[in-house]
Symmetry: C2
Subunit: 777 residues, 2 copies
C-alpha cells in the first residue's frame, strides 16, 4: 500500500504545488514500473481505503483539501514548515523510549512527553506530505511502546492519587493517549494488520483500560484530569471503532466502587454523591452558560485541547451528536470566555491555581481558536488572535483560519467589560472584568466572586486584581509551583501552594481573625459561591461590580462594591473600592493590597522593627514578614508608590486606631519557593460592622532618561463616607481643584426600577436604580 | 529690524520649501508696503547685522544652511516639528517665573528648569522659522527673570554646599545659564538695546558673578558641577564678547580663598592643593586618554552637554583654540567611551553614583553624538546611534547627522570588548568591558578597577557586574536616589546612598572584616587606584581582565582575574572569577554576588532563621537581612536560579567551614528607600591568604507558555584549583561529558614574552605569556 500511496501523494502534490520550496527536501521514491495508465485505478483503490482512516481530526477529504492548498496559504505553509523542521530534527535524533522514572521536568518525563507530541505531528506530516519516513517513525515508536508497556508496573514516583505507568500521573498517561490516538489514526493504513493487532492488544486497549477501569478515582470525576482521561479513551475508541469504549468515554464508568468523600493529592474532592461522569458530564458541569470554566482560566486552557479536539473528532465521526451545539454551543462559547480572561498581552488572569505568563499563545489556544473559528461560524475577530499566534493547526480548522487571514478577513478582537457567570446554571457567582481603554492604555479590574473552583480553587471570595495593560498594579499571587522545573519539587505543586497561595491572606480580599474563608476547608468552600448583587459595564464613565459573600465566615456578611470611574480632574480613571463587613460578633478584619514597585511616601509615621518577625503563625500569615506598621489618626491614609515608570496612590478612609501593616512574602520559606512581593494591609480590630473604602489612582509618570517626574502626587484632597446605614452607602471624593464626585449606592435593593430618596447634610437626593453618581465643580 | 527679518525669513522658507506642512501654522505677518524691488537691499542689511548674532551654537551661516534644507531632511524636519509642538504648547500656557522654593521634583524647581529648556528651544525656533512670537516669548521671560533675580536671596533650601538663587544648588543655576545664554544669543538682535542693557546689568552679569566669584567652592574645582559653572560663565562671556569672563571660564578664579580640604555636601573634596581649575582643567584632568571620565558614565553623560556645547561655541568663536584637537581630541573620544559604556539597550552601566535606566537616548547624548559626528570626522557608525535616538539637535551638527541618515550613510556602531583606562595620564586603573555576542545574545562583563571617581565614587575596587543583553545577571546597585522625585528626599541623594550604595558590601567585590575599602574614607580612597595586570579581549574564545588592588586594606593585596570563556560542551560562554587575597594578618573575607530572580536549588542544606536580623551593624551590613546561611563541606558549592526565563548556576570552589549567606537589602531602611534585592555572600573566616574561584553559567531557558524547561541544570561536574603558589594559579573546569578546561595563569609576571613551565600532577606545561588555556576531551 505504502508504495502506491506515496506515488499518488507525490503526483498530487506536484500537480497542485506551483513552487515546491520547503518540501524539496522530501525524499521521493520513484517507482518506474508503474505506468501512467494505471494511475486512475490506483487512485480509486486509495480512496476506498482512505475513507476509513484517518478519521479523527484529519479525514481523507480534509487531507485532500489541505493538499490542494499547499503553497498557497502563507500561514499554513509556515506552520507546516515549522512542524516539519521540528519533526525532522527529532527523527534525526532517533527513537528513545526510556523506562519511566522521573517527575515532570526530569528526563524520562520530558522524553515521553516529547514523544507523544512529535508522534502526533509526524502522523499529520505523513498525511499531508505523504513521506513514508514519518509513518515509519510513528510505527516504530509505537512498536517500542507496545514492547515496553506490558512490562510496566505503576510509575515509581508515588506522589499522585492516580499514578500512571509511563508518567507519574494517570493524567499525563492520558495526555499521551490523546495525542498518540491521532498519530495512530494517521498511520493506521500504513501499519500492517499484524502490527495493528499487536499494538491494539498490547498497548492501546490495556492503556485505555488502565486509565479508566484501572483508575476510577481519576477517570470518574468532574475535573480537568478526568476530561483528559475521558477524551483519551474516546479518541482511541473512535480510531478502533469501539462503541463500548466510546460510551465509557462519553458517560463514564457505570460502577467505579469509589468511596464517597475520597480526595485527590491536592485535597480536591473526587466525586460528589450521585454526580454524573464522563466527557458529557465534564462539558455539562464545570462550564457556566457564559463559558467560564469553574477551575479558572489556567486550567480551562489546559482542558481546552481535549475538549475541542475530541469535539472535532466526534463531529467527524458522530455528527448526529451535534457536539458543537451541545449546551447551547458551550464549547465554542468557552473559547471566547477564555480570550476575554486575558490581559493586553494575551496572558490569562492567574485566578485560582494559575501560572503567570501562560497565554493565548499556548498550543492549546492555537488549536482552540482554530476550531472555534471553523465550527463557530467563522467569526473574523478570531482571525486577529490567530494572526498574533502566528501559527495554525495542521488540519481543517487551521487551514480555514490561514485562508481567512490570507484573504484579509481579520477584524480586531475587542475585549470589552464582561461579567462571566460561574456554575453549571450560571448562578454560582462569577468573575467580572472591567476595562477602561484610552488609546494604548488599558486599566483592567478583575473581580472574582465565583464558586470554589474545585480542587484548584483558592479561598478568595470577593478578591480582585488590577492591571495597566499587561502590568500588574495589584496582583493575584497565582500558584506556588514551577511547572515542569524539576529542581523545584519535581515541577509539582509546592507545599507553599497550600500554606500560602490558596490562603485568603494571599489575596486582595477581607480576612476575619486571621482565618481563611471557610476556615480553609475545601468541602465547605465547595458548597458555596458568592452572590452577584449588581453589575453595569455599559457606561465608560462609571463601571460597577458589586457582590456579596454570606458564607465565608458564619455570622458575617461581606459586600464589596468596586467601581472604575473616569472623572474630570483626574488624569486617569481611578478605582473605588467599598468593602462592607457586617458581623454579629466583634472581630479583627484585614484587607490587603499586594502592589509592586517602590514605596514613595505615606502620610503617617511608620514604625520599622529592628528584626523581622512573621505576621502570624498560620493560614498564610506565617509567610509574611512584617516590615513596618503604623497606627492611624488622620481621616485618610495615603500611600504612594512608583512602578514601571508610573505613580500610584492608594487613599483610604480610616478611623482612629486603624492599623496599616507593610508586609512581604518569604517568611517560613526554607526553600525560597515564594517570591518576595510586598503588600499593604489595612487592619481594623475588635469591630463588628466595618467599612473599608479606598481609591486607587494611577497618575503621572517618571522617566529614567529625561529624569522628569510628572504628576507625581495624588489628585485627591479628601475621601469620605458621607452616609452609611443598612440600606445605603454614600462616598464622596474631593479632588485638589475642589471638584467633588459623589456616589450613592443602595446596598440592599438591586432593582433597576426602584426609586430612592436620601437626605445627606440637608440635601435630598433622588434617583432610580441601584446607584446615583454626580460631580460638583 | 524684526519686520524686515521676518519678511526675509518668510520669503526664504517659501522659496525652498516645497510642501509647507507643519509650518503652515506659523503666523506670517504680511507687510504690503515693502515692494519686491527692495528685497536685495534688505537682505544685505540683514546679513551685516546677523554676523554678530547668533554666534554661539547657531551662526548666521549655519542658520542660512539649515533654512536651505528645510523640508528636505526627514529627521531634522521631524525634530523641528517636535520642538515646535512642545514650545507652542508652553507658549500657550503663558510665562510663569515663580519665587524659588522647592527641591528638585517640586513645582518651582521643575518650572524654572522647564523655562530654561524651553527658552533655548524658542530661541532656536526664532532663528530657524523666523516667527517673532518665539523671540517675544524669550524676551518677555528674560525680562521677568531680570525683574526677579535682583530680589533673590540664597535659595531657601539649605542642603547644598553651594546654594543657588533660582534653584537649591548653584549647579542648577548654572544649567539655567548654559541654556539661557543660547536663547539670549538667538534673540539678541530682536531685543532692543535698552532691554539688552537692562538684562545684562540686572541678570546676566550678576548671575555669572554669583556662580563664579560668589560660589568659588562650586566654581573652582574639577568636577561635573564646576564644568557646568565654567561653561555657564563661558557661554554668556561669548555672547557678551567679554574676554575677562571668558578667561574666568576657561582658567578658573585666580584667587578663590578656599580653605584646603573643604568638602561638598556629598563628602567630596572641593580641591586638591595646587590644582588647576576652570574649563580647560576640567577637560584635562577627569578624562583619561581613552575618554573615560573618572566620575563614571552617569555623570559623564550629565557633563557631556556643557563640555560639547561649549566646545562648539568656542570652535565658532575662537577657532584658534582648536578645542576639538585639545588633549588629542579627547572631547570626541569621550563620546565613544560613553557609547561603549552602555548595555544592548543603550543604558549606561551604573558605575559609582548612577541612576539605572539613563541611556544614550537622553538629550545630552543626542547633542553629544551630533557634535561628535560633525566635529569628529563624520564617522558613519555614529549615525546608527542617531537613528535609534530618532531626533537631532536643531543646529549644524544636527542637520549634518540628519543628512547622513537621509543619505543612508549609517553603519552599525559595533560595541566590542574594550579596556578603558582611568586617570589624567591613563594610569589610574580602568574599566574593562568584555563582550561575547552570538546573534542577538550578548553577555557582557563590566569589571571596574578604576580610581575613586571623585565625590560620586563608590568603594568598590575590583567589583563587577554582568549582563545578558540589557538584563542584569549580577548587578551593581547604582545610587540610592530618585532623581527629581520630590517625595523621596526632595529628589536628592538619600542617606542610604552613603550608608549602603557607596559601601563595598553593596558591590560584587571582596570585603575584609566587614569594613569598606579605605575604611570608607574619601580622602584615602581618592589617593589610590587599582592596577591593571593583564587584559586581552582579542580572542573571543577566552577574554581576560586581571587587576590588583594594594591599598584598599593596608597589609592586604587583592588580585582578581576574570575570564569570559566560550567552550565546547557549554551552551553559552561562562564567566570564570578568581579572587586572590593575600594578607599579613588573619581576617574574615566576604565575596558577594547580587543576582536577580528566584532561587532554584543549592547543593547544600540551608538554615533559615525564624526571624530576620541585619547581617551587621555598619558599613552597609546593617542594610542586609540575613535570610539563610550554610556551612559548607563539599568541595564545590552550586547555586542555581531562574531569571527572565533563563537559568543561571554559580559553582564555587569551597573549603571546609566556608560559609554561604543569603541576604536581601532592606534592613534599617525606615523610609523604604532601598530596593529589596537578593544576594549570595561567600564567607571565609580567620584566613590570611584565600582564593575564591567560581564559574557562573547562563544556561537553558524556561517558557511560561510552553512550560518547557530546557537545559535547566549546570554543565559543570567539578571546579578545582589544581595548582596555586605565589606565582601561578591553575583552575580546571570539568563538564558533565568529561571535557576539561584548564587555565594556568601567571600571577606575578605579566610579560607577553616570558616563558613559563609548570608541573602539575606529573604533567609539565610550557607556555609563553601570561596564561595557558587548554581543553581536554
Amino acid at each position: 500500500m505504502s508504495f502506491f500511496k506515496l506515488f499518488i501523494n507525490f503526483r498530487t502534490i506536484n500537480n497542485i504545488f506551483g513552487k515546491p520550496n520547503w518540501f524539496t527536501n522530501i525524499q521521493i521514491m520513484k517507482i518506474p514500473f508503474i505506468k501512467k495508465s494505471t494511475f486512475g485505478l490506483l487512485l480509486l483503490f486509495q480512496m476506498a481505503v482512505a475513507q476509513e482512516h484517518p478519521s479523527l481530526v484529519l479525514t481523507p477529504q480534509s487531507v485532500k483539501d489541505i493538499r490542494a492548498q499547499l503553497g498557497k496559504v502563507p500561514l499554513f505553509d509556515a506552520s507546516l514548515a515549522d512542524v516539519k523542521f521540528e519533526v525532522d530534527a527529532e527523527i534525526a535524533l532517533g527513537i528513545e523510549v526510556p523506562i519511566p522514572k522521573d517527575f515532570s521536568g526530569g528526563y524520562t518525563h520530558e522524553r515521553h512527553k516529547r514523544n507523544f507530541l512529535i508522534m502526533e505531528k509526524a502522523g499529520v506530516l505523513y498525511q499531508i506530505l505523504g513521506d513514508e519516513k514519518y509513518a515509519v517513525y510513528v510505527r516504530d515508536m509505537l512498536l517500542a511502546y507496545a514492547k515496553l508497556y506490558p512490562t510496566l508496573p505503576l510509575h515509581p514516583q508515588e506522589r499522585s492519587y492516580a499514578r500512571g505507568k509511563i508518567f507519574w500521573q494517570a493524567l499525563n498517561d492520558s495526555n499521551w493517549l490523546v495525542y498518540v490516538s491521532q498519530a495512530y489514526d494517521c498511520v493506521y493504513d500504513f501499519i500492517s494488520p499484524t502490527d495493528r493487532a499487536h499494538l491494539e492488544k498490547d498497548l492501546f486497549r490495556p492503556f485505555a483500560d488502565f486509565i479508566s477501569i484501572g483508575s476510577p478515582q481519576f477517570f470518574n470525576r468532574v475535573h480537568n484530569h478526568s476530561t483528559w482521561g475521558n477524551v483519551a479513551v474516546g479518541m482511541i475508541a473512535l480510531v478502533l471503532h469501539d462503541d463500548e469504549l466510546l460510551d465509557r468515554a462519553l458517560n463514564g464508568l457505570k460502577n467505579d466502587g469509589l468511596p464517597p468523600g475520597m480526595k485527590d493529592s491536592d485535597g480536591g474532592l473526587i466525586r460528589k454523591e450521585g454526580q454524573k461522569t464522563g466527557f458529557l458530564a465534564n462539558v455539562d458541569e464545570p462550564f457556566s452558560p457564559d463559558g467560564y470554566y469553574t477551575e479558572g482560566p489556567y486550567y480551562q486552557r489546559y482542558a481546552m485541547y481535549p475538549f475541542l479536539i475530541f469535539a472535532e473528532a466526534l463531529q467527524n465521526n458522530k455528527p448526529d451528536l451535534k457536539i458543537f451545539e451541545y449546551k447551547k454551543g458551550i464549547l465554542v462559547k468557552s473559547v471566547y470566555a477564555l480570550l476575554n480572561l486575558t490581559n493586553s498581552a494575551g496572558e490569562f488572569f492567574p485566578l485560582n491555581d494559575g501560572q503567570k505568563g501562560m497565554s493565548y499563545y499556548s498550543r492549546e489556544l492555537v488549536s482552540a481558536v482554530d476550531i472555534a473559528y471553523l465550527f463557530g461560524g467563522k467569526d473574523p475577530s478570531l482571525l486577529s488572535i490567530a494572526e498574533k499566534q502566528a501559527r495554525v493547526s495542521l488540519n481543517s480548522p487551521g487551514i480555514a483560519v490561514a485562508l481567512g487571514i490570507r484573504d484579509k478577513l481579520a477584524k480586531p478582537f475587542e475585549k470589552k467589560s464582561i461579567d462571566l457567570s460561574d456554575g453549571t446554571d450560571g448562578k454560582q457567582g462569577g468573575v467580572a472584568i472591567i476595562r477602561n481603554k484610552t488609546g494604548n492604555d488599558e486599566l483592567t479590574l478583575v473581580m472574582k466572586y465565583a464558586a470554589q473552583g474545585l480542587s484548584h480553587g483558592h479561598y478568595d471570595k470577593l478578591s480582585f486584581s488590577y492591571y495597566h495593560n499587561a502590568t500588574e498594579i495589584l496582583q493575584d499571587y497565582g500558584l506556588a509551583r514551577f511547572v515542569n522545573i524539576e529542581q523545584k519539587g519535581g515541577g509539582n505543586y509546592l507545599k507553599e501552594n497550600t500554606t500560602w497561595a490558596k490562603q485568603t491572606i494571599a489575596h486582595n480580599t477581607l480576612i476575619q481573625n486571621e482565618t481563611s474563608h471557610f476556615n480553609g476547608d475545601f468541602e465547605t468552600g465547595n458548597k458555596f459561591a458568592s452572590e452577584k448583587y449588581f453589575y453595569d459595564g455599559s457606561n465608560p464613565k462609571i463601571q460597577i461590580i458589586s457582590a456579596k459573600e454570606n458564607n465565608a465566615y458564619p455570622g458575617t456578611t461581606l459586600h464589596r462594591t468596586m467601581a472604575l470611574i473616569q472623572e474630570d480632574g483626574f488624569e486617569r480613571p481611578f478605582l473605588l473600592d467599598i468593602m462592607q463587613v457586617d458581623s454579629k460578633t466583634a472581630n479583627q478584619y484585614d484587607l490587603p493590597f499586594y502592589y509592586f514597585g517602590q514605596l514613595m511616601s505615606e502620610n503617617f509615621s511608620l514604625e520599622t522593627p529592628k528584626s523581622l518577625e512573621p505576621l502570624g503563625k498560620k493560614n498564610g500569615y506565617q509567610h509574611l514578614w512584617k516590615e513596618a506598621s503604623a497606627t492611624l489618626s488622620e481621616p485618610n491614609a495615603k500611600i504612594s508608590w512608583l512602578d514601571e515608570e508610573r505613580f500610584y496612590t492608594l487613599t483610604a478612609v480610616t478611623h482612629p486606631n486603624d492599623e496599616v501593616l507593610f508586609v512581604r512574602t518569604g517568611a517560613n520559606d526554607p526553600n525560597f519557593n515564594l517570591r518576595r512581593d510586598p503588600g499593604i494591609i489595612f487592619r481594623k480590630k475588635n469591630a463588628k460592622n466595618s467599612t473599608f473604602v479606598s481609591v486607587l489612582e494611577s497618575h503621572g509618570s517618571y522617566s529614567t532618561v529625561t529624569e522628569s517626574a510628572v504628576n507625581a502626587s495624588s489628585s485627591i484632597a479628601t475621601l469620605e463616607i458621607v452616609y452609611e446605614d443598612p440600606y445605603y452607602i454614600g462616598v464622596n471624593i474631593k479632588n485638589k481643584s475642589g471638584v467633588s464626585s459623589l456616589l450613592l449606592f443602595s446596598t440592599k435593593d438591586n432593582s433597576a426600577v426602584k426609586k430612592h430618596q436620601l437626605k445627606i447634610k440637608d440635601k435630598t437626593y433622588k434617583w432610580t436604580g441601584v446607584y446615583y453618581k454626580t460631580t460638583n465643580k
